[in-house]
């Protein structure tokens, strides 16, 4: 039976797969002049653990790559069984009121307040937040901002969130708008092996940039969504923005389940919703969990 080894072209990159060590010399063998001392047993054990983690990560990535086509097929089958239903269409009326479906509505004054707030947040985002994010990104070429073109939330989706919050919590339009965490949002994407240290390093860099950390949620133990989402405050304006931290696989999973999530929160039948949640669970259970991620703690500790 052939040994299941990674194809060289698929093998983990250098930082993840340290070069094989030379065989340790026998304890009694003479050591050539100038040769480094033999590694002690602790160093050998640590080295082997690193190699094993590296190959385990490779196996996980291979399993994820093999799972993706099956998950896409499962989603196609779901769509065949449950054709898309009509969604509520957001509409700005001639009097400047706004509606989306039966319960989401803004009066003309409320809609105007959200428009003003949205313009202000976008301006602050581009002027005061984007430069800081790009500076943080430039520090380390091993990870990137993904989906940078989508850094500003769409207007109608924002109004849906504002209307939901106003109806549920009785907030004013300005309060509800201030609470929406992702009007301005960014995503950092890392390899699995550098994820935990990369997130911690970038959180520190964002703080050093002067942004105030408001919230961090580590949802890698969640069956519906895996990643680390954070909320930050731009200090001069007080505007909140969101930074998500993903691996390549967790971001791909987020995109793969996006339509399912959209259905869950909008058009799904009651019966379909359970299947959609099961699909999200199936996708997320296939994502390789990066080493060390469990040690990244929520902030504030114990929840907001």
């Amino acid at each position: 039976m052939p040994i299941d080894r990674p194809d060289p072209s698929d093998a983990p990159a250098a930082p993840e797969a340290p070069a094989a060590p030379e065989a340790p010399a026998a304890p009694d063998a003479p050591r050539p002049r100038g040769a480094p001392p033999p590694p002690d047993s602790a160093a050998r054990a640590a080295y082997r653990a690193r190699v094993e983690r590296s190959y385990a990560a490779h196996r996980d990535r291979t399993a994820w790559a093999e799972a993706v086509p099956l998950l896409r097929a499962a989603w196609a089958e779901h769509q065949r069984q449950y054709p898309e239903r009509g969604r509520a269409i957001p509409y700005t009326h001639p009097d400047n009121s706004w509606t989306s479906g039966e319960t989401r509505r803004l009066t003309p004054d409320q809609n105007a307040a959200v428009d003003r707030g949205y313009d202000r947040i976008r301006e602050i985002g581009e002027r005061d937040i984007v430069p800081g994010m790009l500076a943080v990104e430039a520090v380390d070429p091993t990870r990137q901002l993904a989906g940078f073109d989508r850094r500003i939330k769409g207007e109608d989706r924002l109004k849906e969130k504002v209307a939901d919050r106003m109806r549920t919590t009785g907030r004013t339009p300005d309060q509800a708008l201030a609470e929406v965490p992702d009007v301005v949002r960014f995503t950092f994407r890392y390899s699995e092996s550098t994820y935990a240290s990369g997130v911690q390093g970038d959180v520190k860099r964002l703080e050093e940039c002067g942004f105030g950390k408001v919230e961090l949620r580590n949802t890698w133990d969640n069956d519906q969504y895996k990643g680390i989402n954070t909320r930050w405050r731009e200090p001069k304006s007080g505007v909140l923005f969101e930074v998500q931290f993903h691996t390549h696989a967790s971001l791909e999973a987020k995109e793969l389940t996006h339509r399912a999530y959209e259905r869950i929160r909008s058009t799904a039948f009651e019966g379909e919703r359970a299947e959609l949640r099961q699909f999200q669970c199936r996708v997320n259970s296939a994502i390789p969990v990066p080493p060390g991620v469990a040690e990244i703690e929520d902030y504030p500790p114990g929840g907001k």
């Binding site: 039966e102 319960t103 939901d164 919050r165 106003m166 109806r167 549920t168 919590t169 009785g170 907030r171 309060q175 201030a178 609470e179 929406v180 965490p181 992702d182 919230e215 949620r217 949802t219 969640n222 519906q224 969504y225 990643g227 989402n229 954070t230 909320r231 969101e242 998500q244 999530y261 869950i264 929160r265 909008s266 039948f269 009651e270 019966g271 379909e272 919703r273 359970a274 929840g303 907001k304």
Partner: protein
């Protein structure tokens, strides 16, 4: 399957567990499940807030509460909607 309802207090940036911002219920039955919040329009209506939270959304927290505690939040929302005087 009988109807199984779980109630949650909604905590946001302007509220606390002692005085939640709102109330949500997740209703499970044989046909499936749905989430509803009790709103300022004084009725229970579909809500996606908890699904958004489960999808990693920040800014809200959901604390399971009893039906009686949910009733207190509903009563407070009704009181707030009552015209003054």
């Amino acid at each position: 399957m009988a109807e199984d309802i779980t109630y949650y207090a909604i905590i946001d940036d302007f509220s606390s567990p002692e005085r939640p911002a709102g109330v949500l219920r997740r209703v499970k039955r044989a046909a499936g499940e749905r989430d509803e919040t009790f709103g300022t329009d004084l009725r229970w209506a579909d809500s996606s807030l908890l699904y958004e939270y489960e999808r990693g959304e920040l800014g809200h927290r959901f604390i399971p509460i009893t039906e009686a505690e949910a009733g207190q939040i509903v009563a407070r929302i009704r009181d707030a909607a009552r015209p003054a005087g």
